[in-house]
């Protein structure tokens, strides 16, 4: 999970990294205690805020009110500004880049350190592997920054971060070492041992949709397989229920390559029980204007194809979806599932097009595109 600047700075502060005096404001009429000159910083997740009008310097108290009002109502890189971090102005002597992250090249943590220039582009950043068993002990940065770097390592490990970045890290004219910005990505897989909780993000520059919230609830407290914990609403008109973390993406690539417009991305994997698939199907097919539905997966290792497809059918019955439905699956109990689907399709009037393992998974992308859009339109 990517944190907002103000959230990241809280973590920094808790480990003793100095940050400028600041105040987080939400309602525009909140009293601002920081005195001008100050900086208004839009709390959005996208980078390059400064280039998009998300950072506003206020020199004069008299302009404060109007600047706050303008920024709170605006949108930065498509993301609505709902919170502003008001910060005292700091006089900068030197600036640096400092971060800890994981590197696939070293298969472990690395420290990135850069100096010189202003902004990330101007700095020459060098990358140093860190021995995770020994921990970071202040190596490879200038002496004055050792303590801050050690504290940032503490943040990185203590809060199970994938990234803990200070850019810029500054030495002020009065000799203080301060983090002027914070970019922190938390490792969601470590949520079970992190006490600090953070609310859902607006990753797409919009709040999560009802469907996204509902879909993610399916797996909550039920560890039997996954179904819906990864779900994103998209702009298209072909509903997709795909299987497997790898296979689902292969299918989406194929669908788009054949000109299909997916209405959503979602996947199920492991061995989810049928009620989970039923719920997911209802959510996926609740959308208006759908032209088809694609239930697709490769050759499953242990996903029960009968159970998952019967869950799909139970969902279909609820929403009474009448568009074309292309199914391609392979794996345990697939034949039993297909036999029953054929009967259900005829009896209940579902427009099933069923394919087993003899038909390539990605070839059925073309089938659903042709059926959904009508061959001549393609």
């Amino acid at each position: 999970m990517l944190l907002y600047e103000f959230e990241g700075k809280k973590l920094f502060k808790s480990c003793g990294i100095e940050i400028p005096n600041s105040q987080l404001i939400e309602p525009p009429d909140e009293e601002i205690k920081i005195k001008a000159p100050l900086v208004l910083k839009a709390q959005v997740l996208s980078g390059k805020r400064a280039d998009s009008g998300g950072i506003v310097v206020v020199d004069d108290e008299s302009k404060l009110k109007v600047s706050v009002l303008a920024l709170l109502g605006s949108s930065v890189n498509g993301e609505k500004v709902e919170k502003i971090l008001v910060e005292e102005m700091v006089e900068i002597d030197k600036e640096y880049y400092l971060s800890f992250s994981y590197s696939t090249e070293n298969r472990g943590p690395v420290m990135s350190f850069g100096e010189g220039g202003t902004g990330a582009e101007g700095k020459e950043i060098k990358i140093y592997p860190v021995d995770i068993l020994e921990g970071y002990k202040g190596e490879n940065v200038s002496d004055s920054l050792k303590e801050t770097a050690k504290k940032l390592w503490e943040v990185f490990i203590k809060y199970d971060c994938e990234l803990a970045e200070i850019n810029p890290l500054v030495v002020t004219k009065d000799g203080k070492i301060m983090a002027l910005d914070a970019k922190v990505i938390l490792d969601d897989d470590a949520n079970f041992r992190r006490e600090e909780k953070f609310p859902e993000r607006n990753l797409f520059g919009r709040p999560p949709t009802e469907a996204e919230i509902e879909a993610r609830k399916i797996d909550e407290g039920d560890h039997r397989g996954t179904s819906g914990s990864v779900y994103w609403d998209l702009d298209g008109d072909i509903a997709v229920i795909a299987a497997g973390g790898g296979g689902s993406v292969v299918c989406m690539d194929a669908l788009i390559a054949y000109g299909g417009k997916p209405a959503n991305y979602t996947e199920h994997s492991g061995n989810p029980p049928r009620e989970k698939l039923k719920k997911l199907t209802e959510i996926v097919l609740a959308k208006q204007g759908l032209k088809g539905c694609w239930f697709v997966g490769g050759t499953a290792n242990f996903t029960d194809i009968y159970e998952t497809l019967m869950g799909f059918v139970e969902g279909l019955r609820e929403v009474k979806f009448k568009g074309p439905i292309v199914i391609r699956r392979s794996g345990p109990n697939d034949k039993k599932a297909f036999d029953e689907l054929k009967i259900i399709g005829e009896k209940e009037g579902f427009d099933f097009h069923i394919f087993g393992r003899e038909t390539p998974m990605t070839a059925t992308a073309k089938t659903i595109v042709d059926l959904a859009y009508g061959k001549e339109e393609k």
Partner: protein, 295 residues
């Protein structure tokens, strides 16, 4: 001869009394793999599908000194402890099935395994199968026989499902496999494409290799580098997925933690370019792989 899993493979299952652990123990036995023991703290003395259960790896090794492979199938919060125990016991091959292992835990275990000179495959690994010989993990499910067949193509895949789908496509076209490995789709993995290619290079049975990669990280680029430098000389066909994911806002998480791109690093284009430069044939769909292998 195949790699990693052969007729000398003797397996220990950590977490054997769990639902997945007991299921996978039975699957492996049914496929002819020797499953000598299981470990679940506090459940020593029980039996699961005829396999004796011990409280610790040390106890299991006392009674079964031949164990040379451990399969870890425990909840994510317990994986680090399980890996630590297996590394300390010097088990040469440790296969981690569990998904959602914190990245710091994986990083620590990789560092420890390197020091101890043992190999980790995973986390999030569907397993390893040498068709006709044996398997470790859930790969191929209850009956791998229809999907996997013995032959001389090695398969290395970040996705468990796609390792089976690719093997099925090969089998359907009369092409058998030497060993198929699901290396897992996390950011950090104990074994990557190059680690497996090193083994395949030495393996006489393997004549060519299929790589299933996806966006994120640098493991595909490292494979390209290995081929370019001449350290891998057999034919390679690769399929890379994830163009779709790149159309989403940066940082959007899909199913595989590793399939995430920040900046240009690990992008689809970077992978395709470096593999193509190294002379690797790129399959546009998985179904092209058999033709490209025999070309």
């Amino acid at each position: 001869m195949a790699i990693l899993v052969n007729d000398k493979t003797k397996v220990l299952v950590q977490g054997i009394t769990g639902k997945e652990g007991s299921k996978v123990a039975l699957q492996m036995k049914n496929y002819g793999t020797k499953v000598l023991a299981g470990v679940t703290p506090g459940k020593g003395g029980q039996e699961v599908h005829g396999v004796p259960v011990y409280n610790t790896i040390a106890e299991a090794l006392d009674s079964h000194p031949g164990i040379n492979t451990s399969l870890i199938s425990v909840p994510n919060f317990a994986v680090f402890g399980a890996m630590q125990e297996a590394i300390a016991a010097q088990i040469p091959l440790i296969n981690v099935f569990t998904e959602h292992v914190p990245i710091a835990d994986t990083a620590k275990a990789i560092a420890m395994a390197k020091k101890a000179g043992v190999r980790i495959v995973g986390p999030s690994s569907m397993g390893i199968i040498s068709p006709g010989i044996g398997k470790v993990g859930q790969i191929g499910g209850e009956d791998p026989r229809g999907v996997f067949s013995k032959g001389n193509v090695g398969v290395i895949s970040k996705s468990g499902g796609m390792s089976s789908e690719v093997s099925w496509i090969l089998t359907k076209n009369g092409i058998g496999q030497s060993t198929v490995i699901g290396i897992g789709g996390d950011i950090l993995e104990g074994s990557t494409f190059t680690d497996m290619m090193e083994e395949f290079e030495k393996d006489e049975q393997t004549k060519s290799v299929v790589i299933f990669g996806e966006i994120g990280g640098t493991y595909e680029e490292e494979a390209a580098e290995m081929i370019k430098s001449g350290r891998f000389t057999k034919k390679v066909v690769a399929f890379i997925s994830g163009l779709f994911a790149e159309s989403l806002p940066q940082g959007t998480k899909l199913g595989h933690a590793g399939a995430i791109v920040y900046g240009d690093k690990g992008s689809y284009k970077s992978k395709i370019n470096s593999l193509t430069e190294a002379g690797v044939t790129i399959a546009k769909t998985p179904d092209e792989i058999p033709d490209l292998l025999t070309m």
